[in-house]
Symmetry: C2
Subunit: 205 residues, 2 copies
């Protein structure tokens, strides 16, 4: 590998190791030494890539988690699914990511448990989430699937709160391993509130 490629690989190894550490340990408890042990990278290399320490790599993880979410949202927006089915598919994709992907786990845990440490990047309800859900609700309205009287801004906030509460609870219970099932359980509650009677959701193809 050329020198620059090696540097990128080292930085990625540190980010991946930090994801595992921050998924497992609270930000305040985790130490740079834990990241070094997980990655087998030297302390010198760590501070070369992240001169501001563990907070800097944590911010990278929060941003990556957000980018991952936006990618899922954009794929669903292009998928041809109707708006309400896209909301359910988005929640399923989130459940999958949080039950298996350390970057998603670390990003969400940092935002929900250490928000005061990251005032610039940690926002709840996440504006990208609110945007995505509002957009899909507007689409559902155009498709004639929205129950009469639903206020889109209020419904979008409620859906985001519901997912936030489900994932926080699932983390406390069993480190997210039952989150896909938990999210599946709440979906009929959501549909009952926002969908016309007889609406049948579709799955992404």
């Amino acid at each position: 590998m050329a020198k620059q490629e090696r540097a990128i690989a080292t930085r990625e190894a540190l980010v991946a190791a930090a994801a595992k550490v921050f998924a497992r340990l609270h930000f305040e408890t985790a130490r740079v030494a834990d990241i070094l042990e997980e990655s087998s990278v030297t302390q010198g290399a760590f501070y070369f890539h992240f001169p501001e320490g563990k907070k800097q790599v944590a911010e990278v993880l929060i941003q990556r988690q957000d980018e991952g979410f936006i990618q899922i949202r954009d794929e669903l927006a292009r998928s041809g699914l109707d708006g309400l089915s896209a909301i359910l598919a988005l929640s399923n994709a989130l459940g999958q990511a949080l039950s298996s992907d350390p970057v998603a786990q670390a990003g969400i845990r940092l935002v929900t448990q250490s928000s005061t440490t990251f005032p610039g990047v940690a926002k709840l309800p996440d504006p990208a989430w609110l945007d995505a859900i509002s957009g899909f609700l507007h689409r559902a309205e155009g498709e004639g699937n929205l129950r009469e009287g639903v206020e889109i801004a209020q419904a979008a906030r409620s859906v985001v709160y519901l997912f936030t509460g489900a994932q926080v609870s699932s983390f406390v219970n069993d480190a997210w391993s039952d989150l896909p099932q938990t999210l599946h359980d709440v979906q009929s509650f959501v549909l009952r509130s926002i969908a016309i009677d007889g609406f049948v959701p579709r799955s992404p193809s």
Copy 2:
């Protein structure tokens, strides 16, 4: 004051001070010194009452928060309100407590942000909550106010997730100061999902 009364007063002063500290600081960040400074009690007295340190006083706060919740629930159960109105009143009471009472703030923050430190007492969704909401939903069913097809266990879990997500988000945003408004906003989403058309909630007298 007799010696025993003074001891009780000192212990209560420590619990009240710890509530303010754990409402403001993450459990891992807070130090016994912060509690001493807040209470003007000596270190010796602190360890006399809480020989196991800050973790022990934190557990007292988690339990008090839970007892406070159960008291509100029992008052509402006796109030003569219908089941669905009692659920809304419970959520309003929670919003009030979290926006103003350090014991409620500390208890909830400890459970949601430091659950792994308190595996014995920190449970989400809180069993007392699930119980309370299920009970009120059963009452609503008997009163003919439940929408057709609502599954009570699933609806109870969803309502608790929704309140959990609303309070976690409200904490991240502005330390709960807008929680009463946030909870008010989600109530119509909840009613839409579980109440018969035309249901009008009542307020506690």
